[in-house]
C-alpha cells in the first residue's frame, strides 16, 4: 500500500479523499492555489504545497506543477478527485512516465470511454442499448439533418468531449439544425478544444439513472447498484438518491450487468459510473460514462456500506477487489443534497463571501461532507459547492424525513445558500412519491413558494431577532445571563430617551 498520496484537488472532495487516506494510514499531500491557502483541504492535509495563482489553468490544471510537487513530497500516488484533471488522460500518462500511480483508470480506458462517440461505439459492440443517434462525429449540418430525420425529431446535438451541460443544443425541427449545429460546435471548441458533435434522440421527461461500477486490475468488475439523478437544474445534478424509486431488483440487475459488460469491454478499472436515460416505458439507454469518482458517490456508500475512495486506492495499488458481486447488498435508502453558495431567491446567483457562522446537522443517519468552515471566505474562482449533505434511512421515507430534519438544522451564516430550495423540493408531491424527471425543478420554480411562512410564529421570531440584533449593535440592549432586555435609557449616545412601556395584556 502507498505511504503517501497527493490529492490534486481542493475543497470537499479533497477533504473526502484525505479522510479515506487517514483511515488507511496513508499520509496526505495537499496542493493549493494562491486563493486557497486557508482552504479546508490545506488544513486537513499532513503536507501542503502551493502550485500557483488562483485561476485553475495556472494551478489545479497544471500537470507539470502537480507532478513536480508529488516528486518533491515523495508521494507514490495521485488522487485527482472529480473535475479538474480527473478525466484528463494526459495526467494519467504523465504519472505513468514519472513512476507515480494515478488513482483512476488507465489512460487508454479513459480515452475510450471519455469520448462520447467512442463510448457509444463500445456500447454498441457490447450490446448495451443506446439512445438512438450516431456513434461518430458529424461532418456537416446536412448530415446532421439526415440522421435527425431517421431517428426522428426532437434530437440533441451534443459535443463528443462534452460535460457540464456545455456544447448541447435541443433541435425540434430540421430548419433549426444549421444554427444549432454551428452553435454547438463553436461552444464545444471553446469549452473542450474539440468541436466534434454527434446526435442523440431527445427523450421527453427522461430519468437519469446511473450505475456505479468498481473494477480492479485483474479483470474483476462489479456494480454497486444505481443512483437516481433526475433532479437537475440547467443539466446539472442537484439531488441524488439510491436506490432509484423506479427500479426493481430485476431491472437493477439488467442495468448493472449492462454496465459491467461495458466496463469490461473497455478494460476499465477504478470506480466509474455508467449514465443511462430511462424512458416512461422503463427502457434504459446508455448515455455516457464518467471515468472517475462522482460527486454523488456517498449515497452509494450509504446503502452499500463500502468506502469507494478506499476501494479506488486499493485497486490503484494493484490489489484485487475485496468483494464479489453477490456480497453487495443494498440496505435502506440515501439522499444527497448539494449545498451551493448561491441565492435561490435571486435566480441562483452565485454568492461567494465570508462564512460568518456555521452549524452543521448531526445525529443518526446524517453525513455532512463539507469543504468549508466558519471564518473562511468562499472564493469567487471556483465551483460554489460548499458541502454535500447525505441522509440515510431504513427506507426512502425515513431518508426523506431525516433529510428535512437535517436541512432544518443546517445553518450557514453570512452568505446565501440553496438550503431553503431543498426544503421546497422536499415538500413537492411528485418528489415525495418518487415521480422524478429532469423537468421537476423547472416546474417547481414556475410556481411561487408558499407564503404561509409569514403566518406562523417563526416570522414573529425572525422580526424580533432582527430588531434585537440591530439594537445590540447600536449598544441598546443588555444581554445578561437572564436574557436580553431593552434598557430604560440608551447608554451609548447619552440621549435621555425614556423607553415607553407598552400597555400590553399579559397572556
Amino acid at each position: 500500500m502507498f505511504s503517501k498520496v497527493l490529492v490534486a484537488n481542493r475543497g470537499e472532495i479533497a477533504v473526502r479523499v484525505m479522510r479515506a487516506c487517514r483511515e488507511m494510514g496513508i499520509r496526505t499531500v495537499a496542493v493549493y492555489s494562491e486563493a486557497d491557502r486557508a482552504c479546508l483541504h490545506v488544513l486537513k492535509a499532513e503536507e501542503a504545497y502551493p502550485i500557483g495563482p488562483a485561476p485553475a489553468a495556472e494551478s489545479y490544471l497544471r500537470i507539470d506543477k502537480i507532478l513536480e510537487t508529488a516528486r518533491k513530497a515523495g508521494a507514490e500516488a495521485i488522487h485527482p478527485g472529480y473535475g479538474f484533471l480527473s478525466e484528463n488522460a494526459e495526467l494519467a500518462r504523465a504519472c505513468e512516465q514519472a513512476g507515480i500511480v494515478f488513482i483512476g483508470p488507465s489512460a487508454e480506458a479513459m480515452e475510450k470511454m471519455g469520448s462520447k462517440t467512442s463510448a457509444r461505439r463500445l456500447a454498441e459492440r457490447a450490446g448495451v442499448p443506446l439512445v438512438p443517434g450516431t456513434t461518430r462525429a458529424l461532418a456537416s449540418p446536412e448530415e446532421a439533418q439526415r440522421v435527425a430525420a431517421s431517428v426522428g425529431y426532437p434530437v440533441m446535438v451534443k459535443a463528443a468531449a462534452g460535460g457540464g451541460g456545455k456544447g448541447l443544443r435541443l433541435v425540434r425541427s430540421a430548419d433549426e439544425m444549421p444554427a444549432a449545429f454551428r452553435d454547438a460546435r463553436s461552444e464545444a471548441e471553446n469549452a473542450f478544444g474539440d468541436s466534434d458533435v454527434y446526435i442523440e434522440k431527445y427523450l421527453e421527461k427522461p430519468r437519469h439513472i446511473e450505475i456505479q461500477i468498481l473494477g480492479d486490475r485483474h479483470g474483476h468488475v462489479i456494480h454497486l447498484g444505481e443512483r437516481e439523478c433526475s433532479i437537475q437544474r440547467r443539466h446539472q445534478k442537484v439531488m441524488e438518491e439510491s436506490p432509484s424509486p423506479l427500479l426493481d431488483e430485476a431491472m437493477r440487475q439488467r442495468m448493472g450487468e449492462a454496465a459491467v459488460k461495458l466496463a469490461r469491454e473497455a478494460g476499465y478499472y477504478n470506480a466509474g459510473t455508467m449514465e443511462f436515460l430511462v424512458d416512461a416505458q422503463k427502457n434504459f439507454y446508455f448515455l455516457e460514462m464518467n471515468t472517475r469518482l462522482q460527486v454523488e458517490h456517498p449515497v452509494t456508500e450509504a446503502v452499500t456500506g463500502l468506502d469507494l475512495v478506499k476501494m479506488q486506492i486499493l485497486v490503484a495499488a494493484g490489489e484485487p477487489l475485496p468483494l464479489r458481486q453477490e456480497e453487495i447488498q443494498l440496505r435502506g435508502a440515501a439522499l444527497e443534497c448539494r449545498i451551493y453558495a448561491e441565492d435561490p431567491g435571486n435566480n441562483f446567483f452565485p454568492c461567494p463571501g465570508r462564512i460568518t457562522a456555521l452549524e452543521a446537522p448531526a445525529g443518526p443517519g446524517v453525513r455532512d461532507d463539507s469543504g468549508v468552515y466558519a471564518g473562511w471566505t468562499v472564493p469567487v474562482e471556483y465551483d460554489p459547492l460548499l458541502s454535500k449533505l447525505i441522509a440515510w434511512g431504513a427506507d426512502r421515507q425515513e431518508a426523506l424525513r431525516r433529510m428535512r430534519r437535517a436541512l432544518d438544522e443546517y445553518y450557514i451564516g453570512g452568505i446565501q445558500t440553496n438550503l431553503s430550495f431543498f426544503r421546497r423540493i422536499l415538500c413537492d408531491p411528485d418528489f415525495l412519491e418518487g415521480r422524478l424527471d429532469t423537468g421537476l425543478i423547472d416546474r417547481l420554480l414556475a410556481t411561487s413558494p408558499s407564503e404561509d411562512s409569514k403566518q406562523d410564529g417563526r416570522w414573529k421570531a425572525a422580526a424580533l431577532a432582527a430588531v434585537l440584533f440591530a439594537a445590540r449593535q447600536e449598544g441598546r440592549v443588555e444581554a445578561g445571563s437572564g436574557g436580553v432586555s431593552l434598557p430604560t435609557r440608551w447608554g451609548r449616545d447619552g440621549r435621555e430617551q425614556l423607553l415607553r412601556r407598552l400597555p400590553l395584556p399579559r397572556k
Binding site: 441565492d343 431567491g345 435571486n346 435566480n347 446567483f349 452565485p350 454568492c351 461567494p352 463571501g353 465570508r354 460568518t356 457562522a357 452549524e359 469567487v380 460554489p384 436541512l407 432544518d408 438544522e409 443546517y410 445553518y411 451564516g413 453570512g414 452568505i415 446565501q416 438550503l419 431553503s420 426544503r423 411562512s453 409569514k454 410564529g457 417563526r458 416570522w459 414573529k460 421570531a461 425572525a462 422580526a463 424580533l464 431577532a465 432582527a466 430588531v467 434585537l468 440584533f469 440591530a470 439594537a471 445590540r472 447600536e474 444581554a479 437572564g482 436574557g483 436580553v484 432586555s485 431593552l486 423607553l499 415607553r500 412601556r501 407598552l502 400590553l504 395584556p505 399579559r506 397572556k507
Partner: protein, 173 residues
C-alpha cells in the same frame, strides 16, 4: 421602541419594550417574548411556550452601503430564511409618522462582476420578477430581477461597467 421593518417589499412595524419578558407588537398583534442571545447572533426566543432559535447575519451580496439609516439582515428560524431590513428608529425619528411605501427597492450587485446588459430604463414601470440588469460573475451570466413591482427611478450603471459586490445598480420606487 418602534421599528420599521421591510420584508419581501412590504413594511411592518414592530414595537418592543420591557425587561425580562419583552412586550412586543407586530403590525398591531401583541405577543410576549423571552429572549436570550445564546451565542453571537443566535437568539433563543420563547413566545407563549413556543421555542424558536433565530440566527441573524449580515449577508454579503445583499448588503446595504454603510452610513445608511437601514440595514438588511438574513434571519433563519428553524430552517426558514427571512431577509429583513431594519430601519434605524433614531434616524427615522421614531418611525411612527412614516407612510408605508410599497416596493421601494435598491437593486444591488450580489457580487463583484461586470454589467452585461441593462434591461429597464429610468421611468419604466417594472413588474415583480422582471429582469433589470444582467451581471456576469463566476463565468455565469446572471439576471438580476425586481423583487416587487414599481417604477425605475434611477439607473446607476451602464453596460460594460465593472461593479463591486453590494454596489447599487438601480433604484425602484
Amino acid at each position: 421602541m418602534h421599528y420599521t421593518l421591510i420584508a419581501n417589499g412590504r413594511e411592518h412595524v414592530l414595537e418592543v419594550a420591557g425587561r425580562g419578558p419583552l412586550a412586543c407588537r407586530l403590525d398591531g398583534e401583541s405577543f410576549e417574548a423571552e429572549a436570550v442571545e445564546v451565542a453571537a447572533g443566535v437568539y433563543s426566543l420563547l413566545m407563549g411556550g413556543k421555542s424558536y432559535r433565530a440566527y441573524v447575519a449580515r449577508p454579503i451580496g445583499r448588503e446595504n452601503p454603510p452610513g445608511r439609516a437601514a440595514e438588511t439582515f438574513t434571519v433563519q428560524v428553524d430552517g426558514v430564511s427571512y431577509s429583513i431590513t431594519v430601519q434605524d428608529p433614531r434616524r427615522w425619528s421614531g418611525g411612527r409618522g412614516m407612510a408605508t411605501r410599497e416596493g421601494r427597492q435598491q437593486v444591488t450587485a450580489p457580487m463583484p462582476g461586470k454589467v452585461i446588459r441593462v434591461l429597464a430604463q429610468e421611468g419604466e414601470a417594472v413588474g415583480s420578477g422582471q429582469g433589470l440588469v444582467v451581471v456576469e460573475a463566476m463565468k455565469m451570466q446572471n439576471e438580476i430581477k425586481s423583487r416587487a413591482a414599481g417604477t425605475v427611478r434611477k439607473v446607476l450603471v451602464r453596460e460594460g461597467q465593472a461593479v463591486a459586490g453590494g454596489e447599487i445598480l438601480m433604484l425602484i420606487e
